[in-house]
């Protein structure tokens, strides 16, 4: 039996596995970060007057 120097259980695992788990972990962390940033922005937008939309600005200059 050839084991390629790996524990046998690892020979069945796709080399992309680590990358998938890593991305899921990252998705949770970055996703949480983005969520908080958006929520904070939303909370602020209640108290602060909303600045003019960038779209409106572009209409104004054109």
């Amino acid at each position: 039996m050839i084991s390629f120097g790996w524990p046998m259980s690892l020979a069945y695992i796709d080399p992309g596995t680590g990358g998938m788990i890593l991305q899921l972990v990252m998705a949770a962390l970055v996703g949480a970060g983005l969520f908080f940033r958006r929520s904070i922005a939303r909370v602020f937008s209640i108290f602060l007057r909303k600045k003019s939309d960038p779209d409106d600005k572009s209409k104004g200059t054109s």
Partner: protein
């Protein structure tokens, strides 16, 4: 890549295009075509209708592709050859096919950035690349182009890129290993067309480099997670199909990778022995001018459509040929020369393909059945071969006989050969011989011409004033 013996109506599947059952390349009447399965077609149809494919082609990052209209003569002919396939695509032909084990550092880095750019553009259209392999990239006028339209799919989750791991194995790890461990990535790709694993990269980079902030996630953590047990891996599958995820998370990851690759690319500096040759070599000034004039006159008279510049160094003669309108493949065994030429070609978008090739050990055929990636001689030929200041290297360092050099040249050119003969009394020839046994004792211009005339007709011969060198123009006999 065409097979001249194939009948014009015959379709021949490409040996390197077997991995994906949903899409493969075939040749028909000298054209490069792609078959698309009914499973893949909805994703591609969406990409075509959304305009993203058109945009990518216009930006020069995706190979020119034209959909064969349903009901057309071509569609009917292709369907007869490949029943069960939904649609067919005609691809633009790439001037010369090359592989990552022939590229320089910046070429691999640019191929990596190409994948990240395309993936981000596709993500906006709710599509994704399922592969990230350097073998899906070819170079046209100094720019990388993705040739695998079949890599485009509808993603499962938007926050995860399924090809991320492959991207690391094919691009990030080889670049890091060449930069930090001086490991030529040629040996990585020749040994394994799938690149290098996180485990091997970790061992080669060492604990501290892998643990450093730059590689902590992509090397250290990925390797740790790769050691997950089987039960956890089986639980991963439902995770990946559950929910759609936030594409902003993937964009964050793609941009992080792009910054990393750009940093690696910027840090690579050329220091090879040949990259300074232009400044240090031993020519009398006038002889150099004479040689350029000779080659210039040849190019203007014979107007070759394709030129191979062997031992191109920093590419003086390749640039001349490109300016005369030829498609050029410039080759040198020295990586840093090729890197420097590539940077120039990229900047000026010249029709030159610079490649790292050692003529005494050119790239073999590799991959499944040894037919997946073609050997060098089956891919690259030219109407004219330029072999300037090269013969003495092949004779002495390469240990080749004159007859072997002649046959090598006859195999590479379809018509002309412009070759520089260097007498053994030449200063550089003597330097090469310094620590070697002199096996070139009987070498003279006459013996050289005699050997070459067995397969070539001599069109012109001229000594370079003030040197022990001669320039010869020959034509290969059919």
């Amino acid at each position: 890549m065409t097979n001249p013996r194939a009948r014009p109506d015959a379709a021949r599947a490409d040996g390197g295009s077997y991995r994906d059952p949903d899409s493969f390349v075939f040749y028909h009447g000298g054209r490069v075509c792609r078959a698309v399965s009914p499973e893949l077609w909805p994703a591609l149809e969406a990409a075509w209708q959304g305009g993203v494919i058109e945009t990518l082609i216009r930006d020069g990052v995706l190979i020119g592709s034209e959909l064969v209209p349903e009901g057309s003569e071509d569609h009917e002919a292709f369907s007869r050859h490949f029943p069960g396939m939904a649609r067919f695509v005609l691809h633009q032909r790439v001037p010369s096919v090359s592989y990552p084990y022939e590229w320089s550092f910046s070429m691999l880095a640019d191929a990596a950035l190409l994948h990240l750019t395309i993936q981000e553009a596709l993500l906006k259209a709710d599509l994704s690349l399922k592969d990230a392999t350097a073998f899906n990239v070819q170079f046209v006028r100094g720019r990388p182009v993705l040739i695998d339209l079949g890599s485009i799919e509808k993603p499962g989750r938007r926050d995860v890129w399924v090809a991320y791991s492959q991207f690391c194995r094919m691009f990030l790890y080889p670049l890091a290993l060449q930069l930090f461990r001086g490991m030529n990535f040629r040996q990585i790709f020749l040994a394994d067309v799938q690149g290098i694993s996180a485990e091997e990269t970790y061992k080669l980079l060492g604990f501290w480099r892998s643990f450093s902030p730059a590689f902590f996630m992509d090397v250290f953590l990925q390797r740790q997670f790769n050691r997950a047990d089987q039960a956890r891996v089986r639980r991963l599958k439902p995770q990946l199909t559950k929910g759609s995820g936030d594409p902003a998370v993937q964009v964050f990851n793609l941009r992080r990778l792009a910054r990393k690759v750009k940093k690696l690319r910027a840090r690579y500096t050329c220091a090879g022995p040949w990259s300074e040759y232009e400044q240090t070599h031993s020519y009398a000034g006038s002889a150099r001018g004479e040689k350029e004039e000779y080659v210039g006159r040849f190019l203007k008279t014979y107007k070759p459509a394709t030129v191979l510049d062997l031992g191109c160094n920093t590419g003086v003669f390749s640039l001349m040929a490109a300016r005369e309108g030829a498609q050029v493949v410039a080759m040198d065994g020295d990586h840093d020369c090729v890197e420097m030429l590539y940077r120039k070609v990229r900047e000026e978008q010249l029709p030159i393909l610079p490649l790292v090739i050692n003529l005494t050990n050119p790239s073999p055929a590799i991959g499944f059945d040894n037919r997946e990636r073609l050997r060098f001689a089956d891919r690259i030929r030219g109407e004219t071969v330029l072999a300037l200041a090269l013969v003495h290297h092949l004779l002495v360092s390469g240990n080749l006989s004159l007859a072997a050099i002649r046959d090598l040249m006859a195999g590479l050119t379809t018509k002309y050969l412009v070759i520089e003969f260097v007498e053994r009394e030449d200063e550089m020839f003597q330097t090469l011989l310094a620590l070697r046994k002199d096996t070139c004792g009987t070498l003279s211009l006459q013996t050289f011409v005699n050997v070459f005339q067995e397969r070539f007709d001599l069109l012109d011969s001229r000594p370079l004033a003030g040197t022990r060198r001669h320039l010869l123009t020959m034509q290969r006999r059919a």
